[in-house]
C-alpha cells in the first residue's frame, strides 16, 4: 500500500485509545441531562405542563421574571389567574418559543414585557451566545429557532443541528455555571463583598446601563428614521396569540430614574414610543407604558424590580387592565 511507504501506523492501538475517549464522552452525555434537569427553561416548561386553567400569561426576560407578581396582579384584577413565564437572559426568539410551548394553556390575554428598543432591534446570536437559558432553542421548537437565528448562516445552522444531538453541547452551562461560580468566588478574595441579586452582579447591570445611555438617542432616532419594523419573532408572537383568540399587550417595563431620565425624557423617545405604538396597533396589539410606575426604592438593581416593586407594578397593571375594555374579561380555561 502506498501509505505504507511513508507511515508506520498502528491503527488498532490508536483506535482503542479513541474509543475509550468516546466511551467517556458518552458517559458524560448521559450525566449532563441529569445535571441540567432543573434548569430554568425546563422549570418553566414544567410550570406549563402542571398549570391549571389560566387567564393571563406573561412572557419576557428577567424584567418580567422579577417584575410580575401573579398574586398582586390577581388582586388588582379580580377573577383572573396569572402565570409568569418570564425567563432571565433570553431574547424575543426564546419568548416566542415559550409561547409556542404554552399552547395547552388557553389564556384570554398574553403580556410581553420589554425595555428600550427590544421590539425593533435586529435578531442576532452566535453559537456561543445560545447557552444558559437560551439553550432552550435546542429543545423547544428547534426548527423555529434555527429559522430565526440561522436563516443567513448555513454554518450556524449546521452547528445548531449538530449541537442538538449532543447533551454536552446543549446544556453546557450545567457544567460551566458551576465553574463560573467558583471563578467569581475566587475573584472576590480580598475585596469587599459586592451587591448581587439572583440575576447577576449589580456592577454588571450598572455598566450595561451606563454604556447604553450615550448611544441611545441616535439609536432610537435611526429606528424611527429608517422605519425599522417589529422583528420577526415579535410579529410571530402577536400572530400566534391572535390565532389562539387571545388579546396581546406589550408593556414597556418599569425602570428606575437612573435609566429613565437620561433616556425616556428625550423627544426622540416620545417619537419612538409613538412609532412602535402605531406598529403594534397595526398588528392588533396594545402598548402600555409602565416605565414610571414604580419608585426607585422598588428596584433590586439598575434594571430589575424588587418584590415590593413587583407587587406595586403588578397590582397597578391588573387595575389598569380591569378598568378598561382592552383585555377580554374571559374566564380561565
Amino acid at each position: 500500500m502506498r501509505l505504507g511507504r511513508y507511515l508506520s501506523f498502528a491503527p488498532t492501538r490508536f483506535a482503542l485509545q479513541v474509543l475509550t475517549v468516546l466511551g467517556i464522552i458518552v458517559l458524560v452525555n448521559i450525566a449532563v441531562p441529569f445535571l441540567a434537569r432543573s434548569s430554568s427553561p425546563r422549570q418553566r416548561l414544567k410550570t406549563i405542563q402542571e398549570s391549571g386553567p389560566v387567564t393571563d400569561l406573561f412572557f419576557g426576560n428577567s424584567l418580567i421574571d422579577a417584575g410580575v407578581d401573579a398574586r398582586a396582579f390577581e388582586l388588582g384584577f379580580p377573577g383572573r389567574k396569572a402565570v409568569n413565564l418570564g425567563l432571565g437572559a433570553t431574547a424575543p426568539v426564546e419568548h416566542y418559543l415559550m409561547l409556542l410551548a404554552s399552547a395547552r394553556l388557553r389564556p384570554s390575554a398574553v403580556y410581553y414585557g420589554f425595555v428600550d428598543t427590544e421590539l425593533t432591534d435586529s435578531i442576532r446570536a452566535d453559537f456561543s451566545a445560545l447557552s444558559g437559558n437560551r439553550a432552550m432553542v435546542y429543545y423547544v421548537y428547534p426548527d423555529t429557532a434555527i429559522r430565526y437565528y440561522a436563516s443567513e448562516s448555513h454554518g450556524l445552522e449546521f452547528l445548531l443541528r449538530l449541537g442538538r444531538l449532543i447533551p454536552m453541547v446543549v446544556d453546557r452551562t450545567a457544567i460551566w455555571g458551576r465553574v463560573e461560580k467558583l471563578r467569581r468566588r475566587i475573584e472576590r478574595i480580598g475585596l469587599p463583598a459586592e451587591a448581587t441579586s439572583r440575576f447577576g452582579r449589580d456592577k454588571d447591570f450598572a455598566e450595561v446601563a451606563a454604556l447604553g445611555a450615550a448611544s441611545f438617542r441616535s439609536h432610537i432616532g435611526l429606528a424611527v428614521a429608517r422605519r425599522r419594523p417589529l422583528t420577526a419573532p415579535i410579529l410571530g408572537f402577536i400572530q400566534t396569540v391572535h390565532r389562539r383568540g387571545a388579546a396581546v399587550v406589550f408593556i414597556a417595563m418599569p425602570m428606575p430614574t437612573t435609566h429613565r431620565l437620561p433616556r425616556y425624557g428625550l423627544v426622540e423617545w416620545a417619537n419612538y414610543k409613538g412609532y412602535i405604538q402605531r406598529l403594534l396597533e397595526a398588528q392588533g396589539a396594545r402598548l402600555i407604558d409602565a416605565t414610571d410606575w414604580v419608585p426607585d426604592d422598588g428596584f433590586l438593581d439598575p434594571f430589575h424590580l424588587a418584590p415590593s416593586g413587583a407587587a406595586i407594578f403588578s397590582r397597578r397593571l391588573g387595575q389598569t387592565l380591569g378598568s378598561d375594555m382592552g383585555v377580554p374579561s374571559g374566564t380561565a380555561h
Binding site: 511513508y6 507511515l7 508506520s8 498502528a10 471563578r183 475566587i186 478574595i189 480580598g190 475585596l191
Partner: protein, 393 residues
C-alpha cells in the same frame, strides 16, 4: 483565541496533518505553506482587522521571494534584516515612537489612528531576521523556495512561537517522523494538556489578575495585592506555556518537533537560570542576534553588563510598544547584570561549590521575589504600577 477555536482543529490542523503525512515529500512544504496562508488569512479576518490585516500575507510572500537573494556575506541579507526591522517598527512602534518624538508638541500629528498588528508579526519578523543573519554568516543553507515558505508560514508557530530555526526545521520537513501512532499520541496529549493549562488554570488565575487596575488596587490590602501579583506571574506562565504546548503538539501531529519554550522557570534558583527556562526560544534568539553581536561576554565586565541591560531592554520593548515594558526589560537587565557581577566575583574568589539546600532555597526565594517585583511593570502602565508599589510597600 485561535487555539481555543474549534475550526483551528477541524479545518486546519487535522486536514493539514493528514495531508502532510500522505503527500509526496516534494509537496510537503507546499502543504504547510498552503494551510499556513489559509490560517493567516482566516484568523486575520475573524480575529484582527479584517481583510486589511489578511492582506499582510503579502509581507510573508515578499519575504519568501526576497530571501532567495540571500547569500553568505551578501549585503542583501543586511537589507533583508533592515526590512524586517522596518516592518516591525512601522506596525508595532509607529505610534509609540512618533508619540515620543512629538511629545513637546503636546499632540502627535503623525499618529496612525487605525493602526493594527498583523497576525504574529513579532514572531515572524524575528524568524526573518534569524534566516537573513544566518544566511549572511553562512550558517544556514538556502533551502528551496517551498521549504522557506513552509518555514515562515508554519501555522502552529506563526502567531506566538516558539521561534524556530531554519537549520532545525528543514531537515524535519524533509524527513518527518513516520511513527504516526506515537506522534499523534504525544501531539494530542500535548494539545489537550495545553488547553487544560489555559482554560482550567490560566483563566482561573485570571480571576485575580482582573483586579490589576487603579480602583481595585486602592481597595485591596497588602496581602491581597501580593496574591494578585503572584497570580499574575503564574497566569502569564500557564497562559503562554499552554500556547506553546498547543503549538508543539500541533507540529507533532505533522511529525515535526519544534523547540521547547518553557522548562519550569519558577523553580529556578537564579535569574539567569530563570531566563534560560522562560520563553526559551526568545531568550536564545536575543542572545544570538542581539547580545552576541553587541560583543557578548567577551568584553570587560562593565561592557558585558551594559550588553545584558541593552538586550533586556530590547526584550522588554519587543513585548510591547509602551514605556512600562521598557522598564520591565530594564529591571530584568539589572537583575541579570547583578547576577553576572556576583558570579564573576565568586569565580575570582574561587567559590565554585554549589550551595547547600538552605542556600538553594534562599536563592530560589530571592529569584522569585525579584521576578515577582517585576510583574507590575509588565502588567500595568507606569502610573498604575507605581501606585501598586506604593500600596504594596
Amino acid at each position: 483565541m485561535i487555539f481555543t477555536r474549534i475550526e483551528y482543529y477541524l479545518f486546519l490542523l487535522l486536514p493539514c496533518a493528514m495531508l502532510f503525512r500522505v503527500a509526496r515529500p516534494s509537496l510537503r512544504p507546499w502543504v504547510c505553506a498552503l494551510f499556513g496562508s489559509a490560517f493567516f488569512v482566516y484568523f486575520s479576518v475573524v480575529e484582527l482587522a479584517g481583510w486589511i490585516a489578511a492582506a499582510c500575507l503579502l509581507i510573508l510572500l515578499w519575504e519568501g521571494f526576497f530571501s532567495r537573494l540571500y547569500h553568505p556575506r551578501s549585503r542583501l541579507c543586511l537589507v533583508g534584516i533592515a526590512i524586517a526591522v522596518a516592518i516591525l517598527g512601522v506596525f508595532k512602534y509607529w505610534n509609540f515612537s512618533t508619540g515620543l518624538l512629538t511629545m513637546p508638541l503636546g499632540r502627535n500629528p503623525f499618529r496612525w489612528e487605525t493602526a493594527f498588528l498583523p497576525l504574529g508579526i513579532s514572531f515572524f519578523t524575528f524568524e526573518f531576521i534569524h534566516y537573513a543573519a544566518d544566511r549572511y554568516k553562512g550558517t544556514a543553507e538556502q533551502g528551496t523556495r517551498g521549504e522557506y515558505f513552509a518555514f515562515i508560514l508554519f501555522f502552529p508557530t506563526m502567531v506566538a512561537g516558539p521561534i524556530k530555526r531554519f537549520q532545525d526545521f528543514v531537515p524535519q520537513l524533509r524527513n518527518p517522523s513516520t511513527d504516526w501512532t506515537l506522534d499523534w499520541n504525544r501531539g494530542i496529549t500535548r494539545i489537550l494538556t495545553g488547553l487544560v493549562k489555559k482554560l482550567a488554570v490560566a483563566d482561573v488565575l485570571g480571576s485575580f489578575t482582573v483586579h490589576l487596575n487603579r480602583s481595585d488596587i486602592a481597595q485591596a490590602d497588602r496581602l491581597t495585592l501580593l496574591l494578585w501579583i503572584i497570580a499574575y506571574g503564574w497566569k502569564a506562565y500557564f497562559d503562554f506555556s499552554a500556547y506553546s504546548d498547543i503549538a508543539i503538539g500541533s507540529a507533532r501531529l505533522l511529525g515535526i518537533r519544534i523547540p521547547e519554550n518553557f522548562d519550569w522557570p519558577f523553580f529556578r534558583s537564579n535569574i539567569s537560570e530563570f531566563w534560560r527556562h522562560w520563553h526559551i526560544s526568545l531568550y536564545k534568539w536575543l542572545v544570538d542576534y542581539v547580545f552576541i553581536p553587541l560583543g557578548g561576554s567577551r568584553r570587560s565586565l562593565a561592557l558585558v553588563c551594559g550588553n545584558i541591560l541593552l538586550t533586556m531592554v530590547v526584550s522588554g520593548l519587543w513585548h510591547g510598544a509602551a514605556a512600562h515594558f521598557v522598564v520591565f526589560g530594564a529591571w530584568h537587565g539589572v537583575m541579570l547584570s547583578i547576577h553576572r557581577v556576583w558570579v564573576t566575583y565568586r569565580r575570582r574568589r574561587g567559590y565554585l561549590a554549589q550551595p547547600q539546600w538552605k542556600g538553594q532555597l534562599g536563592n530560589w526565594a530571592l529569584t522569585a521575589a525579584g521576578v515577582t517585583i517585576g510583574w507590575p511593570m509588565f502588567a500595568m502602565n507606569i502610573d498604575t504600577a507605581l501606585f501598586f508599589y506604593s500600596r504594596l510597600f
